[in-house]
């Protein structure tokens, strides 16, 4: 049973690790309110 599901767990854990790294990176990328609502911003 262990061998049968090992690949599944490895893939799932890898997906979660990638998601956590992506989450950290994307959170760091977010603009502050001052940047977001500046008239210089095109993402307003």
């Amino acid at each position: 049973m262990g061998d049968r599901w090992r690949s599944m767990w490895m893939g799932t854990i890898a997906a979660i690790i990638i998601a956590m790294v992506a989450g950290v990176v994307m959170t760091e990328m977010k603009l502050s309110s001052a940047q977001k609502f500046s008239t210089a911003s095109t993402r307003l």
């Binding site: 061998d3 049968r4 599901w5 690949s7 599944m8 767990w9 490895m10 893939g11 799932t12 890898a14 997906a15 979660i16 990638i18 998601a19 956590m20 790294v21 992506a22 989450g23 994307m26 008239t39 210089a40 911003s41 095109t42 993402r43 307003l44």
Partner: protein, 367 residues
Amino acid sequence: MAAKIMRSLVRLTLVAAFLFFSIGFVQTGIPGLGLAPAQAQSAGSVPCNWSGNISDTQFWRAIRKGVTGTVSIPDRKAGQLVQSDGDELRAFRQGPMSQFGGWLLIGSLILLGLFYVGRGRIEVESGLSGKTIERFNSFERFVHWLTASSFVILALTGLNMLYGKYVIPTLIGKEAFASLTMFGKFAHDWIAWAFILGIIMMFFSWVRHNIPNMADIRWLMAGGGMFSKGVHPPARRFNAGQKIIFWVVIVGGASLSGSGLALLFPFEIEMFAGTFKIINVFGFNFPTELSSIQETQYALMWHGIMALVMIAIIIAHIYIGSVGMEGAFDAVGTGQVDINWAREHHNLWVQEMESMDEGPVSNRAPE
């Protein structure tokens, strides 16, 4: 008598004065009160020429219909005060898209249930031999599960965004549903990167085995042997059904990823105007001048449609890879499949492997 005549003259004067000033106020407005004269717009012109010959009604109607003006800040989108396409998108998402998507998913489950009742589990007809052959190595299995697990999470969190509000609040309450959906949205945004990585690795791992050939035509003509016992059309490492799944995952996954990235980075990644230009070469008439907001709205709509179609197809894939066929799960479980299973479903591949000196056929006791 003279007094009576005087009173009549005064009354007449007051009436005349009242009529005079009333007409004057109608023409120019009442000074000090700032009341606009209603009749001034009767000819379609507005005083002071601030908007030319456009009346307020015409002016606001044009804004409501999405007319775009000019602004001096860098964000040109601010020139459009009202964008009605959002209403239409919401009506589509909550109407036909949710309705037909729901029927698609429920219909898939019903069809698979009927197939199971009619055909039963597809057994290894020659029985399990105990000899196994390596079908997928550890890297291939890892890639499969990386893509599969991330897709399942994406599907569940995505379905929650589309249908959750109709069901889950009644089960766990509105506050819990709001928290669940918020965390689900974060999970959706973040785990999407694992899915994107998965389909890229899957493409490079398996594309050379998934090029269509004549054997696929024969396999499809025989219905893949799915509907009758004793029928095993020849197939190489991937049969035509698996190739269809592969290309659905690659092309559909790429489309989902592209539209998803456009939603993750709205107004920065825009893909629909360019795509429509290419499609219009084939005689279609899709709009090719899209605002940034329209681009995002098309991305949201397409993302949902593609996701629903892919979920329905992957449900069928999960069925046939688990309860629907004996021995199929081992291919992505341990990677070792029974040689009799392989000969029934992928006989050309087994011949290729056996003709190789280092053929990975092994002797393993059945579990």
